[in-house]
Every structure is written in structure tokens, then in C-alpha cells.
Amino acid sequence: MGSLKDKLVVRDLSKGYREKEVLTSVSFTVRDGEFLSILGPSGCGKTTLLRLLVGLLTPETGTIEKDGVDITFAPPDRRGMGIVFQNYALFENMSVQKNVEYALKIKKGTRMIARERAGEMLAAVGLSDYAKAMPGKLSGGQQQRVAIARTLALRPDVILFDEPMSALDVATRLSMRCELKRLQKTFGTTMIYVTHDQEEAFALSDRIMILDRGEIAQLDTPENVCKNPANDYVRSFVLDNLRAKIESLSAFAEGLSV
């Protein structure tokens, strides 16, 4: 973890759809350079929280501050944040290079350096050799890297990830985890990572936020979540996962011994 300065301060954030509250008065802080995972089952409000942070949704109540500035109603591109979607959302009619430099070319300040910056970002994610390739020709992992490079190119100081590895195979997931940690170290970016995969959350995060039906059940280090679960929900959520893992491992071991 980097310095202990607060990067994001979220207070009493609530959001509902058609009279159904999805997120209820959520408050938390994210520290500068931190890797925070948001964990919870489907429908617990993870993606809604992420979209509120990046500005794709507006909250009904509450505020979001970044570096001490209220950004609750700021447009998404004025928040200094980037987001990597689950489905990558690459521009399929553009080459890898063009995907990364597209936004830079449109923005006034970065037009002149677009090509150079895109090259740097592709080198950072190890895709320099694929600059001219079309996204459709790349593997899932490579497409994921293009999406990350495209987001990094605008130099955001916070990057949000919306279940970015759910479509990848196990081997690619493992290598992408290392890749993400490396990139975070290189760029010093604060990362907020939404997932329903506990193993991923525990392996990557400085802290983990466990959401239960739109409320924070616990926000703590992976170690503390395991050792001192805040309530029964967290305990069963973590233990169930552990139990399932142990069962599948013992079944695997039995299979080997036979």
C-alpha cells in the first residue's frame, strides 16, 4: 500500500431502482495507492456502487469526494477515474493501437502525444507486437490487457474494475492477477476491484469490502476478514467458500490416490 492519504471518501451513498433500494447509506474511504476489492454475491450492489463512483449513475443521497473535492455530480470524464468492464467493450472496428489512442486523439491536451503514449501503454501491458492487430483476433486475456492499456492511457489516478476476469480461463486469470499487481506498482494507481470470486479478492487486495444486500457487512484486511468476521453473514460467506474449496481439493486428492 502507498501513503495513508485518503483518495476517495464516500458518505451515505444510496441508490435505488424503481422504488427498490440497491445501495443503502454506504460510507467508506479508499486510501491513495490502495487495492480495494468489493466482494459479494450477485445483486448485492457491487456494480451499482462502481458505476456511482465512476459517474455512470447518480446517487439519490450521499457524496463522493476525491482528493478532498466533491465529485458526486461531476461527469465521468472529469473525475480522473477509469473503468475496465467485464466485457472489455473494445472498439472492434479499430486496431489495438487505435483503441488505446482514440480518446487521447480526441482530447485537446493529449492529441500530439497520442501515438507515443499509446505505444508506452501497450509496452506496459506487453502488447507492443499486437499494435496493428484487430481486437477480434486476440485472446480473452489479451483483450483484457488492451482494455487496461486504453484506460491507463488517460492517466487516471483511480481505476475501477467490474468483474474483469469472469470470462477468462483459470490460467489466464492467474497471470492477469500478477499483471494487475505489477501495473499498480508501476503506475501507483488506486484500484477498486469488483468481484464475486473470493480467492481473487483475497489474493489481490490490501482491503476487502464485503457487501450484503446493499450494505457494507465488513471492510477490512483479508487477514482480519478471515480471522475476525464482523458478523454471521461474513462468517458464513467466507467459511462456505473455504469449505467448498476444501471439499473440491479433497475430492481431487481422492481421485489422485485412486
Binding site: 461527469p75 465521468p76 470524464d77 473503468i83 472498439f91 472496428n93 480526441i106 482530447k107 488517460l154
Partner: protein, 532 residues
């Protein structure tokens, strides 16, 4: 910025809803307003009215049954057997879509005619007449078959193969598999197809106009046309409302049962493997069907170049020369103008509406969607009558723009739904990525979405173009006073018993539509090759 763009989108949505109200709903309502008790009395007391209802219903029901059964057989032959030449067969099966319905009727006249006037009757020395009931049924089958085939084939193609595999393992015989798996799967599609085809036939006037006889009487569509020609809008309105009934029923039924099996999960395709017997049957069926479709077209094509059809088949260009001397080039220009205008305006409008109901949802998206597909429930003749009544005193009346607009609205639903389907399949987060990258929605549309949907855009433009070239329904009530399109020259030539001219015009429309469809297929193949 966000609030501003939301306001812009809402303004566009409101404008589109108002536009569709003005060009779809208001014209139809204006028909209701023109109905008077005197008009109803005059129509009901007319000696032609009841026979016309009987004729319309009996011919449409018979033709619908035949068309749907043939389409089922054709769809089965192409999707469930591994015969060769499927591409050729499917092209031939949809060929009738490229010419006006009246051309099919004319082709039957040229092929069989009355008392030996057709080439087949002359060659075989038959004394059979195709006029009246058998001809109207046959012409209507030819005209409606491609639609029935496309509706059934597209659903059969996406059927899940797993139940068949399971049935095979359980030793269930093929006939039982058909009645137990295929028919229940196709039930909704067959109902939709039946209603769509019935509506199409009962509202068409091209085939009955060319093939009715004094003893057979009229159909409702011909009666309506006569009423409009004689400015009897009151009774024309009543017929218009009657013709709306099956169309609205078809639309409502389709809306309620629309799943067509396509949304279901397909774990494996059904597969086209089959025994030798089924293959031979498929070849024979598809072969005979292709001949039946091609023969009338071939007959009028031969007539174009025959000196005195059918007795003297020596080659001549005189019919083509005569046709162009009587203004075919001018009519062709009009048709091309209508078709290009409908293609450009229709494609742009369908894209905009589809975008606003799929990727930029908000207030009024649902009404806009319903209005966009409502036109499918309004037969061309009824739409034309509505336009005559509603736009009569506006500067638009009698202009090329009103006909282009009528064609656009008449053929709007299918291209709109095609674009809705295409846009729904594209990553839903593209605009969101744009927002976080500081790239506006409009730029994403132009730089990312439009290049991606280009094949669908071309498909839509070609659909508007081809249908505008061959339609005779709404245009027949709007031109004159608007400049006449080529398709209406067939009815004119026919009424003047200039059959060579009618044949030439039919062939001309077929050639233009074939050229456009061919160019489209070529462009698609090139694009696929370029993409590797």
C-alpha cells in the same frame, strides 16, 4: 452536459413519436372519420359487397394454406437435409419477392391464360383457364410464398438439436419425433406465418385485379380501389377498416406469441444429416417448387422478346421499344427516385428509432418502439387511403415525397426490427466507455457503432429500395396526382391489353431488383473476404 444531452435525446424521442403519430396513426384515424352511414348503406346494399367478402376470404384462406404448407416443406428440405445447391434453391424461393404481385398474375396468364392463350396451354393444346378462383389462388401463393418460407426457415434453422438426440437414443420413430418435437416447436411460428400470409393476400389487389372474371366477381381490395377511383371515400373507408381487421389480429397475435424459439438456448444444431430417401424427396420437392416459381417468370420473360406470343416466338425488341416509347424511362426514373428516397430516409429513420429504443432508452422509448412496428399492421392499400384523406389538402399531396414517405412507413417495421436486433447484440457498455474516456455519445455512434452495423444498414437500404420498386399498394392511390412509378405501368398496360408492355415492365423491375440484390451480395462477399 449530461442533463443537456438527456434533454436532446428526449426532444428527439418526442419529435419521432409525434412524427409517427402524424404519418401512421392520424391517416388511419382519418379513414374512420370519413365513414358515413350513407357510405356504409351504399356499400352493404351493393350487389358486389357480400360476394367480394366471400371471394376474399375463400381465395386468401386457400392460398394461405397452400403457401404455408409449401413453405414448411421448402424450409424442411433446406434446413433438415444435406442436399446440394441449397444456396440456389433458397435464392429461387425468394425470387418472387422482387416483382409486384400483379406480375405473378401476369406470368400465370402468359403461361396458362384462358382457352389456350398461354404458352403452356398452346403447346399442350389444353383448354384450361387460369382466370378466376384457381388463378387468384395460384398467384397469391406465388406472391406470398417467399415470406412464409423466410418466416419458417429462420426459426427451423435455430432449433435446438438436443431433444432430437435424446429421442433418437430412446428409439422414438421419425414421424413421432416430428409430431412430438418439431410441430410443438413450430406451433407459434406457424400461427404467425398463417396470419401474416393471410393478411398479405387478403389486402393485395394486384393478383385479383389481373385475374378476376365477371363470373368470379370482385374481392374487397378491388372494390376499395374502385371506390377510391370514384372518390367514394365513405365506402372505401369501410372496406379499409375491414381489411385492417386481419392485419391488426396478426399484429396482436404476433406481439403476444413472439418468442419463435429463437431466444431459447441452442446447445447443438439439429444437423442436416438424413437418409437417401429424404434427400431424394427434398430434391424432387425443391426442384418442382423452383420450376413452379420460375415458369410464370420465364413465361413473361419469353413474351418480352416474342413477336406474337405465344403463336410466333421469333425474337424481337419491339415490345421493349414500344414500352420505352410510351414513357417507361420516365416511369423508371420516378420509381428509382421513390426507391432511393425511401432507402435513404427509411434507413436513417429506422436506425435513429432503433438506437433510441435500444441503446439510449428513456421516457417514450416504449411508445416509440410500438409506433415503429405498428405500420406492419396497416396494409398498403389502407395506408394509401389514409394518406389520400389525411394529406389531401397539404402541400405534400401529389409530390414525390409523399409517395417516398408512404413507402418508407409501409415497409418500416422489418428494417427497424433488424436494426433493433443488431444493436441489441452489440456490447452495451460502448457508450459508457466513451463517457469515462471523455468521448461523446455521438462520436461513439459515428466512429464505432455505424461501422459495426454497416452490413445491416445496407441490408435495410436494399429492403426499402427493392420493395419500393415493386410495390403497387399505397402508390396506386397516391399516383396520380404524384408521378407514376414503373410498377403501376403494368396494371395500365394490362387494362389496355398490351401484354407485351406489361411483360416488359415486369422484367425491367425484376432486372433492377436483381441487380441491386446481386450488388449487395457481391459487396457482402468482398467484405467477408477482406475480413479474412
Amino acid at each position: 452536459m449530461t442533463r443537456q444531452s438527456k434533454a436532446v435525446r428526449l426532444t428527439i424521442r418526442i419529435s419521432l413519436v409525434l412524427f409517427f403519430l402524424a404519418v401512421v396513426i392520424c391517416p388511419v384515424f382519418s379513414i374512420f372519420l370519413r365513414i358515413t352511414p350513407a357510405g356504409v348503406r351504399a356499400l352493404v346494399s351493393s350487389k358486389d359487397f357480400v360476394p367480394a367478402i366471400v371471394n376474399s376470404v375463400t381465395t386468401a384462406l386457400t392460398a394461405t394454406l397452400i403457401s404455408t404448407l409449401l413453405a414448411l416443406g421448402a424450409a424442411f428440405s433446406l434446413s433438415r437435409t444435406n442436399i446440394r445447391g441449397k444456396g440456389v434453391f433458397s435464392t429461387l424461393f425468394v425470387l418472387p419477392m422482387l416483382i409486384p404481385s400483379i406480375s405473378h398474375a401476369y406470368g400465370l396468364k402468359a403461361l396458362i391464360g384462358a382457352n389456350g392463350s398461354g404458352i403452356l396451354s398452346w403447346l399442350l393444346g389444353l383448354n384450361f383457364s387460369i382466370l378466376g378462383f384457381p388463378g387468384i389462388v395460384a398467384g397469391s401463393v406465388l406472391y406470398s410464398f417467399p415470406i412464409a418460407f423466410l418466416m419458417i426457415e429462420s426459426v427451423l434453422r435455430y432449433e435446438d438439436g438436443l431433444p432430437y438426440r435424446a429421442a433418437q437414443v430412446l428409439g422414438i420413430p421419425p414421424l413421432r419425433r416430428f409430431t412430438g418435437i418439431t410441430l410443438p416447436y413450430l406451433k407459434k411460428t406457424l400461427i404467425s406465418t398463417f396470419f401474416a400470409v393471410f393478411t398479405m393476400i387478403v389486402t393485395d389487389y394486384g393478383v385479383p385485379e389481373a385475374l378476376h372474371t365477371r363470373s368470379f366477381g370482385y374481392t374487397l381490395s378491388i372494390l376499395m380501389l374502385r371506390d377510391v377511383e370514384n372518390a367514394r371515400f365513405g365506402s372505401a373507408g369501410v372496406i379499409g377498416i375491414l381489411l385492417l381487421v386481419p392485419a391488426v389480429a396478426a399484429f396482436t397475435i404476433d406481439l403476444f406469441i413472439r418468442d419463435h424459439g429463437q431466444s431459447g438456448f441452442v446447445s447443438e444444431p439439429v444437423g442436416a444429416g438424413c437418409g437417401r430417401g429424404a434427400r431424394v424427396l427434398a430434391y424432387v420437392f425443391s426442384g418442382i417448387l423452383s420450376c413452379l416459381i420460375l415458369l410464370p417468370i420465364a413465361a413473361f420473360s419469353v413474351q418480352v422478346f416474342a413477336k406474337s406470343y405465344p403463336t410466333d416466338l421469333s425474337f424481337t425488341f419491339s415490345h421493349i421499344r414500344d414500352t420505352f416509347r410510351s414513357g417507361a424511362d420516365r416511369f423508371l426514373e420516378n420509381s428509382l427516385l421513390y426507391a432511393v428516397l425511401a432507402a435513404l430516409f427509411g434507413t436513417a429513420l429506422a436506425f435513429l428509432s432503433a438506437y433510441l429504443t435500444t441503446r439510449a432508452k428513456g421516457p417514450l422509448s416504449r411508445p416509440l418502439h410500438l409506433l415503429s412496428i405498428t405500420s406492419v399492421a396497416i396494409p398498403g392499400l389502407v395506408l394509401g387511403l389514409g394518406y389520400v384523406i389525411f394529406f389531401n389538402r397539404t402541400p405534400l399531396y401529389g409530390t414525390v415525397f409523399l409517395i417516398a414517405l408512404a413507402n418508407t412507413i409501409h415497409f418500416f417495421a422489418s428494417p427497424y426490427l433488424l436494426m433493433v436486433n443488431t444493436l441489441n447484440k452489440i456490447n452495451p457498455d460502448l457508450e459508457n466507455v466513451g463517457k469515462t474516456l471523455g468521448v461523446g455519445r455521438l462520436r461513439i455512434v459515428f466512429d464505432v457503432l455505424l461501422p459495426k452495423v454497416r452490413p445491416s444498414l445496407f441490408e435495410m437500404a436494399v429492403y426499402f429500395f427493392v420493395n419500393s420498386m415493386m410495390t403497387i399498394s399505397a402508390v396506386s392511390l397516391l399516383a396520380p396526382p404524384a408521378p407514376l412509378p414503373l410498377s403501376l405501368m403494368i396494371a395500365r398496360a394490362e387494362s389496355q391489353i398490351d401484354l407485351g408492355k406489361a411483360a416488359t415492365v415486369s422484367l425491367l423491375i425484376l432486372s433492377v431488383n436483381l441487380a441491386v440484390r446481386g450488388a449487395m451480395a457481391l459487396a457482402r462477399r468482398r467484405a467477408a473476404q477482406a475480413q479474412g
